[in-house]
Symmetry: C2
Subunit: 343 residues, 2 copies
């Protein structure tokens, strides 16, 4: 933890509250846009997509987009956020929702955030197609902003998400995967969309180039930290509001940072354990507890969370060139919260 | 068949040849763009997407896009097609390929055009994700054209494709579906992309508004005719170069024009047959031959192909305001060919 970080965390409490308050009004309008734009003459689309969108979740990505727009607006001096900011925030949520629908098909999941998944209720066909619809609709909303630079950012982010997910498939069952590969996966599948949401929001909000770049880097580091924590908590948390059950990744052979660290430092016997459970998928009663014990022995949970904290330090540094404001303080608090919530 | 049509078909032979010749050079460049833009650091992407793209097929959509660009170029007077035309033609092929990958996942197909499908070779997960990648990459290519109007056309087309496919799902097993619903399905899932390909090509080629509109309507009618023929031939053709085996739709309970016509005019006994085979999916040896016999009794094949011919008449009318040229003649021949190939 750098001294810079220590100072800031003394000033700003780790909390999402301030950012939620600052974006509350804008988010209400974005939620209206989301509902309006789910419309289709084909009834299954609003039914299925509405099921997913109503499930809510954290709405992290549209919130980041709106925060970017508010940051941009401060420098442009316009009173209200332009409609483009809401179209873009909705668009980012649609891209994320499309990936969730397709992920659930791929994972054959039947639960997400404690509710039945769309594929469990309507079947894989509908989930694949409605995911495609949401993706296309996202691009229609971006076109409505009239700003081709945001189409550039978000089409690139969309391609990178799929590259991240495909690379993740190739790491599955490979506990000896290099840490760099894992970092590439989480950057692509999560962080790039966080970055694009924050940067493109700032752009349509009227932000300067340096503000947009700051928001990009903030989103990128926050996204990496967020994903490292999410993956790590799969071995640490009891099933909570996190959106998945502890041990899911272990049972799926999904290779994340704690396992890579423990493999790297592991004995031959431990490696045999990872080989059997992750590569061969031969998992018996008590193996998850054994995995947690091995990770604990190597401090793999703490070291992973420390890596997330390093990313948060980078996120805070990204903001250092921006003028002080309530919004900047809120972004700092939110970043600190994203790792603090783990403990 | 209108007299106008009779005259034209006396002048222009039904053939794809002239259009193939006129677009040959441009298509070679587009094929290079397709190969270049399939690149990714994740090896599975060019492998899987390359398998699909190498399978080729008719490349109808990029050819229409290039024909549109050549039409536009005639009025703008520039010597070579702009790179944007090739980016766009590749983009249209990527959108189409993405829908094929997802269709094969949904249909659980293991053969397309006589080759193993991607999902049979690499699994559903990879097919879903590489489909998503191709879709995102298509939008990246459109962004490179710098023309937001083509993003508008193609994002709308993409959304309409999924709406068409979802609506098609809801018609499955319902032989009593109204003909209007079928026409809506084929317009959305096929014709809108043909229209957008031709129109957007004309736009980046430098065409006038009236040329772009003519190409839009030509593509729309051609797309409808193409899909009606494709669906009808499933009951008429022996397994040929058509890309599917005769009887596939019958076995899948996919409801198309001939069945809707035969149901509408059918006896109680015939309706019971359609009910058993299409709604209940209870298909026995000899039922496909029985279906063909019922369709034949009601002239349902001929009447469906006549509906396709009417669409071709509309396609030819769309071009009537354009100056005569070798390209216009080639587009007429290609349209006539798209129904003639059926006999």
């Amino acid at each position: 933890m750098t001294s810079d970080r220590m100072t800031k965390s003394n000033i700003e409490p780790p909390s999402l509250e301030a950012l939620l308050v600052l974006t509350k009004q804008a988010m209400a309008r974005t939620n209206d846009v989301i509902i309006e734009r789910l419309g289709s003459d084909v009834p299954l689309i609003p039914q299925l997509a509405g099921h997913l969108v109503a499930a809510g979740g954290k709405r992290m990505r549209p919130m980041l987009c709106l925060a970017g727009a508010l940051m941009g607006q401060r420098s442009s001096g316009t009173p209200d956020l332009p409609e483009a900011a809401h179209l873009l925030a909705a668009s980012v949520e649609f891209i994320h929702s499309a990936t969730l629908l397709h992920d659930d098909v791929i994972d054959m999941s039947d639960k997400r955030r404690g509710r039945d998944t769309a594929n469990a209720l309507w079947g894989n066909e509908a989930s694949v197609l409605v995911g495609d619809f949401l993706f296309a609709r996202a691009f229609q909303l971006m076109v409505l902003t009239g700003d081709i630079s945001v189409l550039d950012m978000l089409s690139t982010a969309s391609a990178r998400i799929t590259e991240g997910e495909i690379k993740q498939m190739s790491l599955a069952g490979e506990p000896a995967s290099p840490l760099e590969d894992y970092l590439e996966v989480i950057t692509n599948k999560t962080a790039i969309l966080f970055a694009a949401a924050a940067e493109s929001g700032c752009r349509v909000g009227g932000g300067t180039d340096s503000e947009c770049l700051a928001m990009h880097h903030y989103g990128l580091s926050l996204g990496r930290a967020f994903q490292i924590c999410d993956d790590t908590l799969d071995y640490a948390a009891t099933s909570d509001g996190m959106g998945k059950n502890a041990g899911d990744d272990f049972r799926d052979g999904k290779i994340t940072m704690p396992v890579i660290l423990a493999w790297r430092d592991g004995s031959a016997q431990e490696r045999a354990f990872w080989q059997r459970t992750q590569a061969e998928g031969n998992i018996n009663e008590g193996d998850f507890e054994e995995a947690v014990a091995i990770l604990s022995y190597h401090n793999a949970i703490e070291r992973s969370l420390a890596a997330a904290e390093q990313e948060i330090d980078l996120a805070l540094k990204s903001l250092s060139g921006l003028d002080d404001s309530a919004l900047k303080s809120a972004l700092i608090s939110a970043a600190l919260f994203s790792v603090k919530r783990s403990y």
